[in-house]
Symmetry: C2
Amino acid sequence: MGDKTALVIFTPSGKRGNIPVGTPVLSAARQLGVDLDSVCGGRGICSKCQVTPGFGKFPKHGVTVAKGALSGWNAVEARYDEKRGLKEGRRLGCQACIQGDVVIDVPPGSQVHRQVVRKAATRRQITMDPATQLRYVEVREPDMHEPTGDLQRLCEALKRDWDISDPEASPAFLASLQHALRDGGWKATVAVWRDHRGGAPVLLDIWPGFFEGRLHGLAIDLGSTTISAHLCDLRDGQVLASSGVMNPQIRFGEDLMSRVSYAMMNPGGDAEMTREVREAIGQLAIELSDETDIPLRQIVEAVVVCNPVMHHLLLGIDPVELGQAPFALATSNAVNTHAADFGLASINPSANAYVLPCIAGHVGADCAAVALSEEPYKSEDLILICDVGTNAEILLGSKDRVLACSSPTGPAFEGAQISSGQRAAPGAIERVEIDPMTKKPRFQVIGSDLWSDEAGFAEATAVTGVTGICGSGIIEAVAEMRMAGLLDASGLIGSAEQTGSGLCVPDGRTHAYVIWDARDDGGPLIAVTQGDIRAIQLAKSALYAGARLLMDELEVERVDRIALAGAFGSHISPRHAMVLGMIPDCDPAKVRSVGNAAGTGARIALCDISARARIEAEVLRVQKVETAIEPRFQEHFVAANAIPHASDLFPHLPELPDVSFNAGGGRSADSPTGRRRRRRTQDPLLRP
Amino acid sequence: MGDKTALVIFTPSGKRGNIPVGTPVLSAARQLGVDLDSVCGGRGICSKCQVTPGFGKFPKHGVTVAKGALSGWNAVEARYDEKRGLKEGRRLGCQACIQGDVVIDVPPGSQVHRQVVRKAATRRQITMDPATQLRYVEVREPDMHEPTGDLQRLCEALKRDWDISDPEASPAFLASLQHALRDGGWKATVAVWRDHRGGAPVLLDIWPGFFEGRLHGLAIDLGSTTISAHLCDLRDGQVLASSGVMNPQIRFGEDLMSRVSYAMMNPGGDAEMTREVREAIGQLAIELSDETDIPLRQIVEAVVVCNPVMHHLLLGIDPVELGQAPFALATSNAVNTHAADFGLASINPSANAYVLPCIAGHVGADCAAVALSEEPYKSEDLILICDVGTNAEILLGSKDRVLACSSPTGPAFEGAQISSGQRAAPGAIERVEIDPMTKKPRFQVIGSDLWSDEAGFAEATAVTGVTGICGSGIIEAVAEMRMAGLLDASGLIGSAEQTGSGLCVPDGRTHAYVIWDARDDGGPLIAVTQGDIRAIQLAKSALYAGARLLMDELEVERVDRIALAGAFGSHISPRHAMVLGMIPDCDPAKVRSVGNAAGTGARIALCDISARARIEAEVLRVQKVETAIEPRFQEHFVAANAIPHASDLFPHLPELPDVSFNAGGGRSADSPTGRRRRRRTQDPLLRP
C-alpha cells in the first residue's frame, strides 16, 4: 500500500501532489499545505474537515477521477450522517482515504482561515484566524509509577496532535483541569491562546470530551461619549449582538480635556473614572451574554479601540500627561493583557484583551483601528479617512505615506450637546429631508424603513416612539435646513417671516426649526435650535480644519477619495456632509460612508491574529501631526465656520441659497429663487 | 589614545587582556567578562563597581604596576567619598581609567554573582543572581513630533544600557511609570524580572532617579502544620527576619489526608482551605515587613516550597485526586506566576512567585527544595536525606541515581498531637538530658543557652517562661527516657516503682514522666505521656520504614551518610534520632543535622535564578517510590515500632537498657545494670 501513490488535487487552492494510496484526505491536505479545518485532530468527531470529492473528467486539471478514487463510506461517516446529517456529496476528510487520482474540493466552511466578507461598503474580506481556538485532545491516563502531572500529559498530547509547544496554564485553568479530564474520560477540548508576538501559548480553558460549543470575542469601541460592544463568533466572525451605552464618565466632563482636568483637580479622580468605565464595559458583556444566551465563559477574547485618554483611563493610568504638551503617552505600543487586569472580569476569567497601539498623544488606538479597517497604507490613490466621534480621527495618505491627526469635534456628531439629541438607538431620528418648497420635514427613525409622511409610520414606530435625534440625523437636518433656505451661510436660523415657514419658531432671542411635535399626544417636541447649529458648526469646522491641516502637510489641494466613518447608528450621508462643509471638496462619487470603521478594525483584530502584527508595524510608519500646537489649525478652523466655504475650494459643491438672516428676524432680501432650486434638482450630488 | 593598550589583570578571576589606554575599569571588566557589579550603568551613582588596584611588583602575574597605572582620583569619586566614604585604596570602576599595565582586585561586595556562604552545616555557597534586579537608566524626554510612549523610550534605554530586550510591563507598572520618570528628571531605577525559562523579561516597578533601596524576597516553607517565611535581601542573600505560624488549615484536619477528606466531603471546602492558607501567608509577609521596616513594595519575589496537597490548596486546585490512587498531580512542573494569583497581594503588586516542581503525588516541592539544598545528585557516596515534618520527605541516592518517597509521620515531630507539645518558639523545650542514675531531667528552652539546672536559668527565661516542648525536645526526651531506663523497648513508660523515679507519675491507666512542674508558681506541668510515646513511635516507624523502602529499592543494607532536615526551631540531634530508631544504621560521624533544608532550598531558588532551571532538570531524573501502595512499607513500619530495632541492622547503635514494663506498673526483673551504664558512657555516639 505504501508504495503506490495517486495524484491528489485540492480545489480551490489548486495544490496538488502524489500521495501514498491509503492516506486519509485530511493527512493528504496537511502534507500538501492545504487549508482544511479539524478540531478533533482527525478522530471523526468534529466534522470540520468535510470535503467534496469530484468524479469524472477534469480537463482543466488533466485527470479523470474514477468512482473508487476514495475509500467507501465508513461506519464513522454513517454514524455522523445519521446523528447530524452530512450534505449530499460530502465526505469526512479524516475518514475517506485516497485510493486513486482524485480532485477534492474544500468548501469554505471547512477552511480554517476562511474569508469572511465584511458587511460595510468596502466589502473587504477578513481572514478568520483568531488568537484563541479550540483543540481536541486525548490524554494519557496517570500512572503512579511515572507520576507526571495531568498538565504535563495534556501538554504532551497538545504537542503531538497540534504542535503546540510549552504552553503556559493560568491558575484558573489548573483549577479546572483535573475534573475536566476525568469527566471526559481523558478526552478534552482546550481553548488555546496564541501570542502574535511569539510569546508562549496559553491554555485558557478546558471542557470535558469534544466540546460542541463555540468561542466568542468582544470588539469594544470605547468612545468618550458612547461605548459600544459587539459579540462575535470566533469561527465565522459573525456579529451575534451589539450593545451600547453612554460613557458614564460623562458626568466628570463632556469632552476629553475636561476629564483630564477632573483627574488633575481631584486626587483619585482618575481611579474613579477608571472604575466607572470598567464597570460599564463589564455590564455590556453581561448584557450581550444574556441577549444571546452565550455563556460568559465562552467569551474568551476582547479587543478594545479607544482614544488615548480613554486608553489610559481604561488601563488605570492617570491621563494627566495627555492634557499638556508634549502629550506623552505612557505607552504607545499595543497592550496585550488579561481582560481581568482592566476589570473585564465577567467574561472567561482567563480571557485575553488586546488594545490596539496608539499613534500619538492625541491619536489613539481608535485611529489605528480605522487604519486597519480602511488600509490607507495600501491605497494607490490619495484617501482621506475621517472617523467622526467626540474627537475625530483623521488619516490622509496612500501606500507611499500616511499622515494622522485628531481633531476635537466635541460630542455634537454623536447627538450629545444637542437639544433633542440622543445616542443612535431605536426611536432616534437618523435621516431628515426638508422640502425646499413647502419647508416641511420628513424623517426616518432607527428601527423602521418608513418615512414619517408614509402610511403606517405611526404603527411602525408605536413601540419605540420618536424619541430624539441622533448624530446622522442632526447632520442631515442642518444640511437640509441650509439647502431649504432656512439657514444662512453664517449659520443663523431665519424667523417664520424670513423663511416663510411656520416651523421656524421663536426660541428665546433666536429661532428653532420644528421637526416633530408630538406634545399633543404627550410626546416630545423635537426641534433644531440655534444652539444646535452652533454646536454642529464648531464640530464640522474642527473636522474640516484637521483634514485641511493634513492636506497642507502633504501639500495637496484635493484628495482622490474620502471615507466617512463614525460610530453612528446609521451611516453618515456623504452628500449632507459635503453640504455642511464637514469635509474638503471631492468628487461626490468618491465619497463613501464606511460605517463604524474603528469598530470594524477592532473586529478584524479580534478575528485575525495576523492583523495585530500588521497594524503594529503600520502604525510605526504613520506620521503624526499635532493639531493642538499648529497655528494653521486655528486658521482653518475659523475659516471653516460658515456654510458653505469659499467656492474655489469646493467646485463639487452645489450652489446653496444665499439667504442672509439677522438675529432680529427681519425678512432678508434674498430668498431662494426658482433658478437656484432648479439647479439643485439637477445636481447629481443632491439626488443620489 | 585609542592606539595604545595596557595589560589589565583582574583578581580573583585571573582574567586578563590588552585594553586601550583611557578605558574605564568597568568597561575593561565587561570586555574581559569579569564579574564587576554596576546598577547605575557606569554613571558614578551607585558605587557598586568599587575595585582595589594593586601597585608594585606582581611576580605571579609577571607585571609591575606603576603609580600612574590608573587615572587620578576625579571629582565624582571625591564627591562620593565625601558623601558616603570610600574605603582606603578603593576606586570607582566607572571613573578610574586604565593608563598602564595594572592588577585590579574585585572585592566580593563588587561582584554581581557573589558567593554567599550558607549558615547551615554544609556551608555550601549560594551564587547571588536573583530573578529581579534593579537597573538604573536615563530616558529620552518625550518629543511631540516623534510621539513614542514613555514606555518605549524607557525600553530603548534598557536595551542600550542593559541589553534587556522586549520586556513586558505589568498594568501596575504602566500606572506608575509617568510620575516616576518626571519626578526623577528622566532618570529612574527599574526592577526587572527575568524568566529562567527564556520568556520575556517583565518590568515590575520603577522608582524616580537612582533608587538607594534594596529588593527583597520571601522564602516560604508551607508545611501542613507550620508555615514559616524568611525575608531575604536579594543583594546578599541575608535572612533579615523569619516568622512562622501554625497552618490555620489544621482546624480542617491535622494531617493531609484528613484535609483531602474535608475537601471531598464538603463542597467548597477546598476553597475555604485555600483562602485560609493564603491569608496566613499574606499576614506573615506583613509581619516581616513591620518587623524589619522594609516596605512591602520592596518585597518583589516569593518562592514557595510545600507538599503536593498544600501546593494544590495554595494554588486553588481541589486536592481530591491526591487522596486516591494513582495520586495524580494537576501539574508536576514548577509554577511561575504572579504572587497576587495566589492571594499574596500584600507585597509588591507585580511580584512574581515561584513554586518549585513536585516530584510525585506524594513527593512535593518541599522534597525538590531539600534536593536543591542537599544535592544528592552530586554526591559521590550514598546519602540518605530525611526531611522531617508532618510528612517526611526522604531522598536516597548519589550522582548515579536518586530515589524519593514521602512517609506520613504525622505532626508529632513538630510538637503537635503531643500533650505538652508546641511549635518551636521562645519558651519551648528544645533539648533534654536525663541523668541515668538520678533519672532527673534537665533541659534548654529556645531563647536561652542555659540548662534548666544552671544558675540564672529562671532569670534568663523570665520573659518567655517554659511553655511546652517542641519537636526536637520531644525526640530528645523520648530517647533520653529510653536510655535512662524509664521506657522499655516496646515503648511503655514504667511506674515510679518500676523505674525508681518519683517523676514517673500515674496518668490514667498508664504513666507519664514529669519534665517540668511549675504549677505551684501558676505555670504548666510539662510531662511526656504514654500517648506522646505512642505518637512518636508511629512517627519514627513511618520515617524509618520510608527510608528502608528506598534502601530495598536500591538493594542496599547500609548508607554512607545521613542528613537530617526539618523545620525545627533547633537542629534535630543525630544521636537521639539514632537511639529513637528514626533512621537506619550509619556511622554516627556521618550523621548530620542540616536544619531546615526545604527552607534553604527555597532561599537558594530565591537568590539564584539558575538554581530554578537546575532543580527542574534534576527533578525529572529522580525516581519516585510510592509508599502508599507498597506492602513492604507496612512490613517495615510494623517492624520498626520498637525501640531499638533488631541489633543486626544497627551495629552502630549502643546497647540500650533491656527493661520491660507491663501496663500494671509492677517492677520488672531487668533494671539497668552497671555494666550497661558503663558501656554507654564509653560509647562515642552518646558522649559527643
